[in-house]
């Protein structure tokens, strides 16, 4: 028998913790669309032949996902197409896909009727394929990020790290590429000098609000400087890690 278990419990047990737990388990989620990315990921991970997955909300098509061989090739969202071949790599593309999925989720009203329809479509070539696992990783990164988490993740992939103590101006560096320590030191020294001689109009933010400065320096390195309460952390990152930090940081500070 597969009927709802809560319907068969006696009335006298209606208020028991067990029944409340059973009801909670059996009830539909209060918000349907937090599961939307997972539902789409499930389709991506189980679809072999070329398919267009149409997402409709209350019957109105909202987005389309081109899928084949357990990978997302292309997504067309509500605010314009994201062509997979615009990206250099799946790792670069995944955060964009994940961000759009999360944005879609946020824009779908509570209790809206959501349908996902898969249609056969001709095979198309693509240089970039996003596997469900890669998308899942990007989604998890975006969903969980606070500024501190974003910084922790970026530190792990940094080529070099430098820290400036706001009280003393003392700089320490570490990381796997010592040849890049001077870059972090120069950046932090400059910030320290600015901090000592800052004109009032140049005050970037009220104290305490975290700020990320980001710029690409070379083909293989970007500089990210995180500032908060007069303390600064400089990271030399591979450019793709810097882009990931930018997205996580934005979500974490929003």
């Amino acid at each position: 028998m597969t009927t709802h278990p809560a319907r068969h419990l006696p009335d006298m047990a209606q208020d028991s913790p067990l029944l409340r737990r059973l009801r909670a388990l059996a009830a539909p989620p209060s918000r349907q669309h937090p599961a939307l990315p997972e539902r789409i990921l499930h389709h991506i991970d189980t679809t072999i032949l070329p398919r267009a997955l149409i997402l409709a909300v209350e019957g109105a098509p909202l987005a389309r996902f081109d899928i084949t061989q357990r990978a997302l090739l292309r997504m067309e969202g509500p605010d314009g197409a994201l062509e997979s071949h615009e990206f250099n790599s799946a790792r670069e593309a995944a955060p964009r896909f994940a961000e759009t999925l999360l944005r879609l989720s946020a824009h779908v009203p509570d209790h809206a009727r959501i349908t996902l329809t898969a249609e056969a479509r001709p095979l198309r070539s693509a240089t970039t394929q996003c596997s469900a696992a890669l998308l899942q990783e990007a989604l998890a990164g975006l969903a969980a990020a606070s500024p501190e988490e974003a910084l922790t993740k970026a530190c792990a992939s940094a080529l070099a790290r430098g820290r400036l103590e706001g009280e003393t101006g003392h700089i320490t560096c570490d990381g796997p590429r010592p040849e890049l320590y001077p870059v972090a030191e120069v950046a932090l020294s400059r910030l320290w000098q600015e901090q000592q001689h800052r004109a009032p109009q140049a005050q970037p933010l009220p104290a305490g609000k975290p700020l990320l400065r980001l710029t690409q320096l070379s083909a293989a390195s970007s500089l990210a400087v995180v500032s908060q309460r007069g303390n600064h952390v400089a990271l030399l990152l591979p450019p793709e890690a810097a882009e990931l930090l930018a997205r996580h940081w934005q979500r974490g500070t929003a």
Binding site: K209, Q216, S218, A219, S221, L223, A246, Q250
Partner: protein, 150 residues
């Protein structure tokens, strides 16, 4: 009022043409609040369009942040070891990201005293505007009229 008092005219651009270009740029994404053209040497915003309006103090802060950001970038690039040659790019950019959104500052290596400043709600929006902003920078120098790279 969009124009500052007696601002110098940016190179290669009539004032109203530049304002029109900035407005066209800003209008491309709905969450771009400010598009401004700045002289980094004087830290002066020469032209800007914004919606809603923006206070002079905020424009001054943006231009100061841009000047400091590019100075930081230059110092860091000069400290790069030989194995990491500075990237050759059509435009240098700095992004500042906080809970107020994203400030994207762009300048051409050929005219490092001039910069475009964009204030957007998201890094995605800012980066969507980047190619057209670079094309505008180049147009201001009379180098490469026409649309920017895709």
């Amino acid at each position: 009022m969009m124009l500052h008092s007696a601002p110098p005219t940016p190179p290669g651009s009539a004032p109203h043409s530049l304002l029109r270009d900035l407005a066209r740029l800003r209008d491309q994404v709905p969450d771009c609040r400010v598009a401004a053209y700045c002289d980094l040497e004087t830290r002066l915003v020469l032209r800007h369009v914004s919606a809603p309006g923006i206070r002079q103090e905020t424009l001054d802060r943006l231009s100061a942040e841009a000047q400091q950001g590019f100075a930081l970038r230059q110092a860091a690039q000069e400290a790069l070891p030989m194995a990491y040659p500075p990237i050759s790019t059509e435009a240098e950019d700095i992004r500042l990201i906080d809970d107020g959104g994203v400030r994207l500052f762009l300048r051409s290596p050929d005219a490092p005293q001039d910069a475009l400043l964009l204030l957007c709600a998201s890094t995605e929006s800012a980066m969507r505007l980047r190619p057209e902003a670079i094309a505008l920078l180049h147009r201001l120098q009379g180098e490469t009229p026409g649309p920017g790279p895709a």
